[in-house]
Every structure is written in structure tokens, then in C-alpha cells.
């Protein structure tokens, strides 16, 4: 369902962040991307919805194919309609309540009626356990609560794939659990997800597949038990050892 071919991203002449990424992800897969900082995990994720424009390469999600070297605005918007994103810093619309945040894309992008959008939004807020806070503005919510609303907002557009960009990295340790539980619940519902994370144990539990990225390449790709429990790649072994210590 997601196909990435020969994807490159250069920020300038000397910093090539992604080097020839090739990737196929099927429906219902939950893919975690692990790896040291600065190896292009987030860049890869952000290239999938063109928040970051790749230098070269082809991305296909569902029936939309976009070639980086000659992409049009309309192609990019079509591509984005197949996915949604949960951000590290939540990025909830500050001028809208939790409910309005979830309703926004339903009304503006999917052109649903206000009533229909509201019903769907409340349903989703219930799913992430935030229905009782639906009329709160983001500034009145904790980080964990904001991120759960962020997840509801991402679910609202019925995406083919949800992209999680380090969803718990900005959270206080005691708030990580509630967000991970929410993500797990959605994974169990059969959503297709790609998850950039530093939560190794969680990645092992929730994923059906793990990618290990190193220096702009996919260095290992396989089932979580193979990648995390029995790593072959020396860089991966080193990386996991470091996490085992902390």
C-alpha cells in the first residue's frame, strides 16, 4: 500500500540525510522506525507526506504516486489525503477546542456537515478518553491529553496510514504511558501505522515490523523479535546496548 523507491533527501551539498531508501509497507502493518538521532528517521516520515520535500525518488500511498523531481501541489495534497500525522509537539490548533481540532479536517477537507463531523469527533475523543475535555483549549490540557487529542485528530480523516513522529518524546515521563496505551489500542484496531520512536520496549510490543536506520539508510528490517531480541547488525547491537543501559 505504501511504496517508496530510491528516495534521497539532501539539505545541502554535504548533508545527505536519506540515501536511496526503498520500502514497501502493506495494509495493517505497524512499523516502528528505530535508530540513533540524526539518522533521518523523522525526515523519512516527513517525506511521506511531503512536509519535507525529497530531493529525488518516488512515493506511492494508495492510488497516489508522487515523483519528487516533478511534483505538483495538487499531487502533494492528494498524497496527504491518504495519511495523517501525530507530531512530537502535538501541534494542536491553539485557537480551537479539543472538539474543534478533531472536527476541523472533517469539515474543511472532507466537507462533512457540522453535525456529522461533531458526532464522529466525539466518538473519536471517547476512544482516546478525552470526551470529557472536549471543550477545553489546548493550553488548558496536559501534554499527554493534548497528544491524545492529536491522535483523535489524526484518526478523524480515516487515513490509510497514520504517521507518528516521536509522539512521546516531548512528554513528561509520567504521561508517556497514557499516550502509548492509546497508540496500542489503535494498533489493535488494525490501523496501518508508521512510528518513529525511542521507546524500544513499546516498539517491540506494538509493532509487526521494525526498521533500524543508520546514517540515512535502512540498516535492518524485520520482525521485532529478530531485530530487537536477536540483532545481527553490529551498529544495531551497539544501539540496543546503549538503551538497555538507560
Amino acid at each position: 500500500m505504501i511504496q517508496v523507491d530510491h528516495l534521497y533527501k539532501k539539505f545541502d551539498e554535504n548533508t545527505e540525510v536519506l540515501k536511496d531508501i526503498n520500502l514497501h509497507i502493506s495494509k495493517n502493518e505497524v512499523v516502528s522506525i528505530l535508530g540513533p538521532s540524526g539518522t533521518g528517521k523523522s525526515t523519512l516520515l516527513r517525506c511521506l507526506n511531503y512536509l519535507c520535500v525529497p530531493t529525488k525518488g518516488v512515493i506511492r500511498i494508495g492510488d497516489t504516486t508522487v515523483d519528487a523531481e516533478h511534483h505538483k501541489k495538487s499531487d502533494v495534497r492528494a498524497l496527504r489525503r491518504h495519511s495523517s500525522m501525530v507530531f512530537q509537539n502535538y501541534n494542536l490548533f491553539k485557537n480551537m477546542t479539543a472538539l474543534q481540532n478533531v472536527m476541523e479536517a472533517l469539515i474543511q477537507v472532507q466537507k462533512k456537515s457540522k453535525k456529522e463531523a461533531e458526532e464522529r469527533a466525539i466518538e473519536l475523543l471517547e476512544k482516546v478518553g478525552m470526551a470529557d475535555r472536549k471543550d477545553f483549549y489546548p493550553s488548558k490540557l496536559s501534554g499527554g491529553q493534548q497528544q491524545r487529542v492529536g491522535i483523535a485528530r489524526a484518526l478523524a480523516v480515516s487515513p490509510d496510514v497514520i504517521l507518528f513522529d516521536e509522539p512521546t518524546s516531548a512528554l513528561d515521563p509520567e504521561l508517556v504511558g497514557e499516550v502509548l496505551n492509546t497508540i496500542q489500542k489503535i494498533a489493535e484496531d488494525g490501523a496501518t501505522m508508521i512510528l518513529v520512536t525511542h521507546e524500544i520496549r513499546f516498539a517491540r510490543e506494538v509493532s509487526s515490523r521494525v526498521l533500524f536506520m543508520d546514517e540515512g539508510r535502512i540498516a535492518a528490517d524485520g520482525k521485532p523479535e529478530d531485530i530487537i531480541s536477536h540483532p545481527q547488525n553490529p551498529r544495531l547491537q551497539q544501539f540496543l546496548k546503549y538503551f538497555a543501559q538507560t
Binding site: R80, F87, N91, F93, K94, E104, A105, Q108, V109
Partner: protein, 224 residues
């Protein structure tokens, strides 16, 4: 009594005459404010998106408007450009003043609005894009509502400057608060009372405006 330095009776006589021209001042302010806001918003959006060509032109325009005083701008436009344009020759002085204040303050307002647009976190735009919203939807639904509360205090400042700038209208013969006071004072030679009355009227108008602008700022900040 008429030889007193400050004649209360003359003050009481001139005050209603000055207040009587408040409509001209307020009318000028209102027109200039609306036009300057529209111009300022357009210039700010051009600067925000760095629209090619228009951006370079707008920078020169803003630098020029901010770098020269309003009084020579007024004369240059109404008496200078009038030599080559019949539209300006036939224009009423009030319209000319409104145009110059709008052009001048529009440049200032564009900077206030641009700063406010840039204050909105880039993550807000990314979130809108990731949900498939287009550029216009993002600006109208997300960026502008958040920018307005940031822009309000500097914009209110700009509007107070517009109110005060309308007092230049007398230079083209407009009979506003300042214009009528000036000709009365020239006849009576009672400058003290006349200009005291003029300043009090401006002061009260600006105080009332400030009161309501503070209220509005508060309402905008309470929302979220």
C-alpha cells in the same frame, strides 16, 4: 476679562465649535483606518509569502513611506502630483488626506501584521498541511485567528497614530477639529484657549478608543 491670559468664557465659546467638527475627524479616521488595514494586510501577506516581484516592490514602498514624514507626502501628492493628474486636481482635500494617511499608515500596519503572522508557530501550518488543508484554509482558519491577538496591541497603536495624523488635514484647508480651531484662533488671537480645547478633544477621543481597545484585547486573550 478678555485680557486675562486664559479666558474661561472664550474657552467655553470655542470648545463647542471645535467639538462640532469632531465628525470630520472621526470620518477621516474611519476611512483611513479601513483603507490602511486592507493595504497593510495585503502588504503583510505579500511579505509573509515572499511573493516574487511584488515583495521587492513592497519593501521599497514601505521603506519610503516609513522614511519620509506625512506632511511633505501630503503636499507632494495634493499640490505636486496635481500638476500631472487631473484626478488629483479635482479631488477634495478630505479625500487627499484620507489617501495619504492610508498609504502612510498602511506601511506601518503591514509591519505589525507581518510580525504577528510570523509569530504563529510553523507546527500549526504543518498540522494543517498534514490534514490536507490548502493554503487559503490554513491562513483563514488557523494562522489569521492566532495572528490577530498578537497584532492587536501594535495595530491599536497605529490607529491612535491615525487619529492624531488627521490633524494634518488643516494643511490642505480641511475644516476638521484642528482646521476650525486654527482659523478661529487666527481671528481671535486666543491661541491658549483654542489649542487647549483642541488637545482636550483629541485626548478624550483617544482615551475612549484606548478603553475599548483594552477591552477587546482582553476578550481576545480570554478565548484560549
Amino acid at each position: 476679562m478678555s485680557n486675562n491670559i486664559f479666558s474661561v468664557s472664550y474657552f467655553l465659546e470655542i470648545f463647542p465649535k471645535v467639538v462640532g467638527k469632531l465628525d470630520v475627524t472621526l470620518y477621516l479616521t474611519l476611512i483611513a483606518m479601513i483603507c490602511a488595514l486592507i493595504l497593510g494586510t495585503i502588504l503583510a501577506i505579500i511579505a509573509f509569502y515572499r511573493v516574487p516581484v511584488l515583495y521587492q516592490i513592497s519593501r521599497v514602498y514601505i521603506a519610503f513611506m516609513r522614511g519620509t514624514p506625512a506632511a511633505p507626502q501630503l503636499f507632494f501628492f495634493y499640490y505636486g502630483l496635481a500638476l500631472i493628474s487631473t484626478t488629483i486636481t479635482n479631488m477634495s482635500a478630505t479625500t487627499a488626506v484620507a489617501i495619504i494617511i492610508s498609504l502612510n499608515m498602511g506601511a506601518f500596519m503591514s509591519e505589525s501584521i507581518r510580525a504577528a503572522l510570523m509569530s504563529v508557530d510553523v507546527g500549526q501550518r504543518e498540522a494543517a498541511a498534514s490534514l490536507g488543508m490548502n493554503g487559503l484554509q490554513t491562513v483563514i482558519r488557523v494562522i489569521l485567528p492566532q495572528a490577530i491577538r498578537v497584532a492587536l496591541p501594535p495595530l491599536f497603536n497605529d490607529i491612535i497614530n491615525i487619529i492624531k495624523m488627521t490633524s494634518l488635514a488643516f494643511m490642505l484647508g480641511v475644516k476638521d477639529i484642528m482646521g476650525v480651531g486654527r482659523s478661529e484662533a487666527a481671528l481671535s488671537l486666543r491661541y491658549f484657549e483654542t489649542y487647549a480645547a483642541i488637545m482636550i478633544v483629541y485626548f478624550v477621543v483617544i482615551m475612549i478608543f484606548s478603553f475599548f481597545s483594552k477591552k477587546l484585547e482582553k476578550i481576545c486573550n480570554e478565548a484560549y
